[in-house]
Amino acid sequence: MSFKEHIFKKSLWLFHYGGASCNNCDIEILDCLTPRYDVERFGIKLVGSIRHADVLLVTGSINKKDKERLLEIYKQAPKPILVVAMGACGCTGGIFAEGNTFAGPVDKIIPVDAYIPGCPPKPEAILAGIVKLVNRRNGK
């Protein structure tokens, strides 16, 4: 089992799901790809299709209309899939929590493996979150 874990750890393909966000977190994700932070050194790549994804990165507070899409996307992802709730909106709904269309933080909709708080979380925080997530894997 540990060989599979090792392989899975070395090549994580991210699929980014943007909920009702102010796209600060989305921009920070793209920042991670840029030369200064460059996640490709860890074998992490942003992919365009949920079929190729290993990590489902959810940003933004989920409003009622997003909820169905999030469930749909989660069902379509090939298992094993890790879910990371990113930013204050992802973890708890943040400043938009009392909005009339807020449909609950991400962990009420799909099981979440890791939380990256911050508004927006700095790219260093995102990397730290993914590294923690990957190291914790062998616990599960």
């Binding site: 920070e28 409003n63 508004c119």
Partner: protein
């Protein structure tokens, strides 16, 4: 869709809602005949957070933090417009130093927002080197923001009557040095991007918006200036330090994706010169004089606007003398720019449609703070938005069920 045209429009290409092209959830349904786009339907609502309703339950000071998170990339233009609006109601004049600091923050944000767009435009065209370079040169600007305000994007610098933090004069040399590197890199980017023959082939004559279109749709910002309509709130309705600084509005004529890129890149240089002049102004002003105390906000109505990187941001506030806004209306620039998709995308091929969608630099979360949907002309819907989306994915539910049976 009208019944008879359905036969001609056969493939519906849903771009989004979770498409790597945009970093925000929007569903564009391109009704295409083969490769060329016949019509664009734009369903949204994925980003709607009911900000205007939330704003009514916040005190004026808290509204700045809410309004800052309307949009991540132009996260200082909304507080800017809101501050202008509240100062108009309260009839308050802010000290010059606060004006300079506000303009510096506004222009720095324009720099990092335009660099971001140039990178994304390169990414949409498949030219990832431009994306990496543009975003690499954008990082020092974000470091500056971190130095001034402690956070890379939502800076929380604004307050009614002035600014929350001062920019000490000893920080200015460091900022000047970063701006020089950004200027030289921008010139290099202008050289690399604007003279590249392949980029010319991909962007010249694509997604053209004529002057009449801009006026008809009421489009704003760089998208309007690229078609020869010289509107810019900083010059027409001057606020903060813009009347104390001399600069010029950049316009182009053709109105295609290429001229929009040119306008944005040249505006970058203009912003750098504005900031340098603001540095001179800062030196003359006494340190620390960054706000006038505002006792209470009288009942009344105010309209405030500011020039965001994407165009004019408009805030309307009605106050009833209490500490909470009675009604707060936000209209973001992309709200007026996005309808122009009908004009700029129809008739293009799919790969052009994507870059034409991106050329207006639409910021969906700005538009979405209230959200709207634009529907096809006909009243009666063959399949409403949800069904169309399900069409593509109903099969996978069946598989999921089948997969669950087998272990």
């Amino acid at each position: 869709m009208k019944k008879e045209t359905q036969k001609t429009i056969n493939t519906i290409i849903p771009i989004g809602p979770y498409h790597p092209l945009q970093e925000e959830p929007e569903l564009f349904k391109l009704y295409c005949d083969g490769e060329s786009v016949k019509d664009v339907e734009w369903i949204t609502g994925y980003n709607h957070r009911g900000i205007e309703k939330l704003s009514e339950s916040k005190t004026f000071d808290q509204v700045f933090f809410l309004v800052e998170r309307v949009c991540g990339i132009c996260s200082t233009s909304h507080p800017f417009a809101f501050a202008n609006c509240m100062e108009e109601i309260a009839g308050v004049e802010i000290p010059d130093r606060a004006k300079y600091i506000r303009s510096i923050i506004g222009e720095l944000e324009r720099i990092h927002s335009h660099l971001l767009w140039v990178g994304l435009a390169g990414h949409f065209l498949g030219y990832n080197t431009v994306f990496m370079w543009a975003w690499k040169y954008r990082e020092p600007v974000l470091d500056l923001f971190e130095m001034i305000s402690g956070n890379r994007n939502s800076y929380a610098m604004f307050k009614i009557g002035g600014v929350r933090r001062d920019i000490e004069n000893d920080k200015i040399p460091r900022m000047r040095e970063v701006l020089d590197t950004v200027k030289s890199k921008t010139n290099m980017l202008i050289g690399a991007v604007l003279d590249d023959p392949v980029i010319h082939a991909r962007t010249k004559g694509v997604g053209v918006l004529t002057k009449e279109d801009i006026i008809k749709y009421g489009a704003l910002g760089p998208a309007a200036r690229a078609s020869g309509v010289p509107i810019d709130v900083r010059r027409d309705d001057p606020y903060a330090a813009y009347p104390l600084v001399d600069w010029k509005v950049i316009t182009a004529e053709e109105g295609d994706v290429f001229s929009k890129a040119k306008v944005r890149l040249l505006e970058l240089l203009e912003s750098i010169s504005i900031i340098e002049q603001c540095f001179e102004g800062l030196k003359k002003e006494p340190e620390g004089a960054i706000e006038t105390i505002v006792k209470e906000i009288p009942a009344g109505i105010g309209t405030g606007r500011a020039e965001a990187p994407r165009g004019e941001v408009f805030h309307f506030v009605e106050t009833d003398g209490s500490n909470y806004p009675k009604r707060h209306k936000i209209r973001a620039p992309s709200y007026m720019n996005i309808p122009t998709f009908k004009k700029s995308c129809v008739g293009q091929s799919i790969s052009d449609a994507t870059i034409a969608l991106a050329a207006v630099d639409p910021c969906y979360c700005c538009t979405e703070r209230m959200g709207f949907a634009y529907d096809y002309e006909t009243k009666e819907k063959i399949l409403n938005g949800k069904d169309l989306l399900k069409l593509g994915q109903v099969k996978t539910k069946a598989i999921r069920a089948k997969m669950e049976q087998e272990p």
